[in-house]
């Protein structure tokens, strides 16, 4: 789900293509490759950066940049999004292509999957048309060995005319050699190869004669305009292909407006009519170009790759037949989700209580300390009752579930299960006229909705991408999970005891998530029929091989990279809000505190939708981060009257009950938590990704109106039926 320190926090907003060295003297290296070839693992191993790698296509949606030192030089490494080609069918491909073309990297490393090298070579051959400075990294050699696929790296290097290094990045094998090769390639970039005759020339694809003739008409002239900026042969090919996005980028980065050049336009016409005379329409031209690249890849592989047995993916197929079977596919999916929640809830229960009693113990000491110091009561109020208590709550309630949920979810992700979820659910999305990959962006939303929004880049159709962005908020992020878990435990699972309790909690939480998915589908459908009219676009989803996750690494990564980061952000937001709340609750206008006044104002409306003024206020104040909604509710209640020691959920339950909470209030809070406006970071990310305030507003209003409507219906139906 692409939750990195980059994509969970403010880094989310830094998603534009940045073409710069982290340090001017650094060598700039681009890291390209197909999705799911372990590119991010290579990146992490080289830079030591904890960017999370997931086993599904399209994980790196933002540009991660990192540095490493090898021998006497520093290198800036740019991790490009995983792409199958550079033909700019999608935002990701455009980013990758633009960086290689205009980012001026000293060398480009293309990471490939040894277990399906042939398909990976297309990208290599494409890239060789743009630049010679390529180092080929054949990754996942360990996996290939297991599958009895042998790769002759020397032969591959001879065929392609570029350095080829074999790696197993997960175990760190071959990385030193890779760094050596990159070092050399980057050096060679500085000194043109005139003085030092290269052993071999990098392979350039030669197309059929009629295409070569068409290129020959155009190339000399293009070359005259572009000088050394770009490979003129490749640009000519793209001009004939009618690649508008390249033209736009040429103008953007190099300020060349090729088509306004009358001579060029005329030459282009000449080329096209040559092709036309040869009986090639634009589609046939494209077919021929693609077929030629494929045939080169086939030929190279026939020499360099030996596959001992064709049954190497039988095991994967067997697993797929169970996990995506007609009968078991969807039940297994829901079951797994439930299981993850069950383990989370059961496992988090005890540590949560321990943390809480520990942290509130400290509060007592702090109080004693302040009393001894003789500070005015308001200092103690702001710092201890305001800031510290909010923090204590956020930590004790959020940390344990997150520290369990994230590693578990990461395990599923690393196994390669998430693409199967998209495969299972695609038909539902198709019926909603949306894209099956929306299931993947929803999974990303579990971690952080803002990351989910950026993840929507993996959806190519702008219409479907907007739908996915607007509905992403129906998946509760980690900021909302603790709220849901706490309420479920207090109000619904409380009547059960022993193991049944956590089973019921997990089942209820799963039901809430399933409801979120159903709402996503309904709203997607409504959007498709109204403001975002359209038919489903084409869909091609890769189901990568299952991979054994490295359990130790997963735990370390998800705890340090995700859990602590997300928690850190929550703390940063919660502390000032704790202060504000305490002030609001303790500044009186007349006899009534500001907080109560606000709450009273909101109360009539809030009651209509099954909440109360304080709760609605908490949701509004929780706009910066959803994590702090429950702490705000607690603080407002406590400030508004009965002071309690809040060190267990049962005491919390007492507090809520004393403020007239019923099971219906609990249900409505959960529903509203599931369906209300996206948090501040998410809204800004939507604005950034959609480039439109209008759609940001839509993404704000649609879940909000949905939530209000659903809560209204539920609350009033229950009241009418006399259930409360």
């Amino acid at each position: 789900m692409g939750l990195t320190s980059q994509s969970t926090g403010a880094g989310v907003l830094e998603s534009e293509l940045k073409i710069n060295r982290l340090n001017q003297s650094d060598k700039l290296i681009a890291l390209a490759g197909n999705p799911n070839v372990g590119k991010s693992t290579v990146f992490n191993s080289l830079t030591g950066m904890n960017q999370h790698t997931g086993n599904w296509p399209g994980k790196t949606v933002t540009n991660a940049q990192g540095r490493y030192r090898h021998k006497d030089k520093d290198f800036s490494l740019m991790d490009l999004p995983g792409t199958y080609s550079l033909s700019a069918n999608s935002v990701e491909e455009e980013i990758a292509r633009d960086f290689i073309c205009f980012g001026n990297p000293d060398a480009t490393v293309i990471v490939t999957d040894a277990t399906c090298l042939e398909r990976n070579l297309f990208l290599v051959l494409h890239t060789l048309e743009i630049t010679d400075r390529i180092v080929l990294c054949v990754n996942l050699l360990d996996e290939a060995k297991r599958k009895k696929i042998h790769i002759d790296l020397e032969e591959l290097s001879r065929q392609l005319g570029i350095p080829v290094i074999g790696t197993s990045a997960r175990s760190g094998k071959g990385l030193d050699e890779l760094m050596d090769a990159v070092y050399k390639a980057a050096e060679a970039a500085k000194v043109p190869s005139t003085d030092e005759k290269k052993l071999q020339e990098p392979l350039k694809v030669r197309y059929d004669d009629e295409i070569e003739q068409a290129i020959a008409v155009l190339e000399p002239y293009v070359s005259g305009i572009l000088k050394d900026h770009l490979d003129s042969r490749w640009v000519s090919l793209k001009l004939i292909d009618g690649d508008d996005s390249l033209l736009n980028s040429l103008q953007k980065y190099l300020d060349f407006d090729l088509l306004s050049d009358p001579v060029l336009t005329q030459k282009l016409e000449e080329s096209k009519s040559l092709l036309n005379d040869a009986g090639l329409d634009p589609e046939q031209f494209r077919d021929k170009v693609a077929a030629k690249i494929v045939s080169y890849a086939e030929k190279i592989c026939s020499k360099a790759v030996t596959i001992e047995s064709n049954s190497y993916h039988d095991m994967d197929r067997k697993i797929d037949r169970i996990l995506t079977s007609k009968t078991f596919g969807i039940p297994i999916m829901i079951g797994l989700l439930g299981l993850v929640f069950w383990i989370t809830i059961t496992g988090a229960n005890y540590p949560s209580q321990m943390l809480a009693s520990f942290l509130f113990d400290i509060q007592d000491h702090l109080t004693a300390f302040f009393t001894q110091l003789g500070t005015p009561p308001w200092v103690h109020g702001i710092l201890v009752l305001g800031v510290y208590r909010t923090l204590a709550w956020v930590i004790s309630v959020m940390l344990p579930p997150m520290a369990i949920f994230f590693p578990l979810f990461t395990l599923l992700e690393d196994l390669g299960y998430l693409p199967r979820v998209a495969f299972n659910l695609d038909n539902f999305f198709k019926k909603s006229c949306a894209h099956g990959k929306q299931a993947l962006t929803m999974c990303m939303g579990f971690g952080c909705n803002a990351a989910g929004i950026i993840g929507c880049r993996i959806i190519n159709s702008p219409r479907e991408r907007l739908i996915a962005m607007i509905t992403n908020n129906f998946v509760p992020c980690n900021g909302r999970f603790p709220t849901l878990i706490a309420i479920i435990t207090m109000f619904f699972a409380g009547v059960f005891t022993g193991p049944a309790k956590s089973v019921v909690s997990a089942a209820l939480l799963t039901a809430v998530i399933v409801l979120g998915v159903i709402m996503t589908l309904i709203i997607s459908k409504i959007l498709s029929k109204t403001i975002l009219k359209g038919l489903p676009s084409s869909f091609a989803l890769e189901l990568p091989p299952y991979r054994m996750p490295q359990i130790g690494k997963v735990i370390v990564r998800s705890v340090f990279d995700r859990t602590l980061f997300v928690l850190g952000r929550a703390v940063v937001v919660a502390a000032p809000v704790g202060l504000v709340i305490w002030l609001l609750a303790n500044i009186y206008v007349g006899d009534v505190s500001l907080l109560t006044q606000c709450a009273m104002f909101l109360d009539p409306f809030a009651r209509l939708i099954g909440l109360d003024g304080y709760i609605l206020m908490a949701f509004i104040l929780g706009f910066p981060a959803n994590e702090i909604v429950v702490p705000i509710i607690i603080m407002s209640y406590m400030a508004a009257g009965s002071m309690l020691e809040m060190d267990s959920l049962s005491q919390l339950r007492e507090l809520l009950l004393s403020h007239d909470w019923t099971w219906l209030t609990a249900v409505c809070v959960m529903l509203f938590s599931l369906m209300h406006w996206p948090c501040g970071t998410t809204c800004l990310t939507i604005r950034k990704e959609s480039q439109s305030w209008k759609w940001t507003l839509a993404a704000f209003l649609i879940p909000t109106v949905t939530g209000i409507t659903v809560c209204f219906i539920v609350a009033n139906t229950a009241r009418l039926l006399g259930l409360v």
């Binding site: 199958y84 080609s85 033909s87 069918n89 277990t115 399906c116 042939e118 398909r119 297309f122 589609e283 494209r286 077919d287 693609a290 077929a291 494929v294 890849a297 993916h313 994967d316 197929r317 797929d320 037949r321 995506t324 079977s325 007609k326 009968t327 596919g329 969807i330 495969f423 299972n424 695609d426 038909n427 539902f428 198709k430 099956g436 190519n460 489903p536 676009s537 084409s538 869909f539 091609a540 989803l541 890769e542 189901l543 990568p544």
Partner: protein, 78 residues
């Protein structure tokens, strides 16, 4: 055997050779990028729980395609 069918009609477990990508289809470029050119061998592996999309083995990788998109690919069963 000289039997041309759209890929979505290929029974599960059967193999076929790509003959033609229907002109004008939206997914053409993308399919070409995946190496789905003339004479590529594909195998229908399995359908998703609700019958669509279907997973195909294409050049050593597994790609799921919706029936509408698979219908644009004309194959010869082998």
């Amino acid at each position: 055997m000289d039997q041309y069918i759209p890929l979505n009609d290929l029974p599960i477990g059967r193999k076929a050779r790509v003959k033609l990508l229907s002109p004008g289809s939206e997914s053409r470029r993308r399919l070409l990028d995946l190496g789905l050119v003339s004479d590529t061998e594909v195998e229908a592996l399995q359908k998703s729980p609700s019958g669509d999309p279907t997973a195909y083995q294409i050049r050593g990788t597994v790609i799921a395609l919706r029936s509408e998109d698979a219908a644009d690919i004309i194959v010869e069963a082998i």
